[in-house]
């Protein structure tokens, strides 16, 4: 039995002797590997138990750290075929747009975020924004999208008028009730 050529990184002398008796099974293998792993902090290790005997010496006496378990999938990657809910980073950021909204002249109507989420100004990447400052809007007209837990929520203007300010940039995280746009209903 020879290891696949190229896979061991260093040249090693290996000797295997298969004596008469039962052939090793996967159960033996799991047992041995667990023993080897559990002894990873020792520079020398010797064990005899039942029909298993293990003797090991590590390179340089000091054991290298055992390889980390294969990374467990992050939340957000599909698990079990379900679409998982992507954690929102929104609440971790302090949006700067609040300040801008406070400096607006009185009499403007503010369109606010219905939820923590991500604000999109256009229906899809690369498309022109729904509205720009100066756009005339009707109450039902869509002025932006808030993505909440991967679902898209169209945001209507809520009143007729002219958009005066867009207070949040495209794809920026927004807080609950954060002003998104200002509309002058008298214009």
């Amino acid at each position: 039995m020879k290891a696949r050529s190229g896979s061991p990184k260093r040249k090693r002398a290996a000797r295997t002797r298969v004596a008469a008796g039962r052939a090793p099974t996967y159960e033996d293998l799991v047992q041995i590997v667990e023993l080897v792993r559990s002894a990873s902090q020792f520079s020398e290790f010797r064990l005899r138990s039942g029909d298993i005997e293990v003797e090991m010496r590590r390179t340089n006496g000091a054991a290298e750290p055992t390889p980390l378990p294969a990374a467990f999938p992050h939340a957000g990657e599909p698990v079990g075929g379900e679409v998982t809910l992507e954690p929102e980073r929104a609440a971790l950021h302090v949006p700067h747009a609040h300040a801008d909204a406070e400096n607006l002249p009185p009499g403007l109507a503010l369109v606010r975020a219905p939820m923590v989420g991500t604000f999109y100004r256009a229906p899809e990447p690369g498309a022109p924004p729904f509205v720009e400052p100066g756009t005339r809007v009707e109450p039902d007209m869509i002025v932006g999208i808030i993505e909440v837990m991967k679902l898209m929520n169209s945001i209507p203007a809520g009143c007729a008028g002219v958009v005066t300010n867009v207070l949040v940039g495209n794809a920026e995280p927004v807080e609950y009730a954060q002003p998104l746009l200002a509309i002058d209903p008298r214009a």
């Binding site: 000797r15 990873s40 075929g81 379900e82 980073r89």
Partner: protein
Amino acid sequence: MSVRRKPPHTMRFVDVTLRDAHQCLWSTRMTTAMMAPILGTLDRVGYDVINVLGGAVFDVCVRYLHENPWRRVQFLCGRLATPVDALTRGQSLYTFELFPDDIVALNARVLAGLGVKILTVYDALNDNRNIESSVRAGKAAGMKVNGWMTYTLSPVHTDEYYAERARELLALGVDYMCIKDPTGLLTPERGDTLFPAVVAAARGVPLQLHSHCQSGLAPEVHSVAMRAGFEYAYTALEPLGNGASLPTTQEIRRRALALGRKCRLDEPAMREASGYFNWLCAREDKPRGEVARYDPALYEHQIPGGMISNLRYQLQVMKLEHRLPEIMEEAARVRRDLGYPIVVSPFAQYIITQAVLNVVQGERYKTIPDEVRKYAGGYYGRLAAAPSAEFLERADIRPEERVTERPGEHIEPWIPRLRTKLGAHASDEGVLLAAFYDDALIAALRDPVPECRTRTTPLYELVHWLAERRDIGQARIRFAGTELSFAA
């Protein structure tokens, strides 16, 4: 078609170890190289069918493993003598969006060309109009077609509801029918009435049961199904059964034998294959399936456990964690308002997100996500029940937003556009990948199947594992009549 009167004598098995088992237990991370050495043994186990592909497997291959899923399917079909099965979500194929009929048909031709013998299709709304195009295309491509109906609990999902779905599948001309229980909600008591109703409606078409083990009841439910005349069980080899996965082949075999059924499964081959998968769990640090305890809470909200832990995390980020119980209660009301969608992707998410919006805004349906409106308007297919008056009033769905025809009808063909974009030399596989994914993901795929061994032994695995350990300078291992020593 002959109507079968006596229960079938032989119990047949569909393997899910290479698909749903690792989807449920390993987040779908079993690679082709991990499967390759055991395929010969799997053939010897004596399964009637081996399922290798589904939406999550396709997607994880592309997004996370960077394996070309077509190459995996081709490799497995080439190595396995047992007929190979591929599962799609009907008109949505491997995703949750709707595709035009031309893409659905091309997908069936490509799968058949790679060696797939059975095409299994389902629709998450149980709207069988959404699998019509797949059934037609699958048959035209020379495959057998298997139609699933998805089980859920609600006042409208009665035995008669499922008998009606079975009659629809019969009319579509499927070769097999299956009851799929994605969250392990079936109980033996419900099986006592549901299974005979569906068997009668199927009029001799062989029936299959695909039930997950979250409630721990699935093995007993299988016994009920066998008594009712079900012919096929979907199972996974130990230790990749149980938990969120399906029952083990070993356990369902024992139950079949106890009920006087014949099984063609080979015990030594099962033991060897299970030993290999147990070793893979150790080598790859992946979990084994554990028998789940019965938990009545599962039946109250039906929300899959993974989704609840995810929701809890998100609410934590939004500093709303204390409102989780309120949101779960609201989720049950939202499900009723939306006409009892089955709590699977993507509808589970619609329910949860709408419930969060309702609770956080302090006003029900003040904001309704666009996808929820589309769902309620029939864009994805027919609803199990009409939405509630309260929801409809708030949603104010306009007549032009209502869809009554088969969802595939309102999508223009894509292939001409994709062929123009990709050029005349584009392969059918390439056209399909371009329909599903953006260019960057496709470019990252390693096209040939990664180099892999097609047979192995415990001894080989041990030598290889030790050789890969850089920290061991010298070792001598003696076990079971074998002595192994090496030095760096």
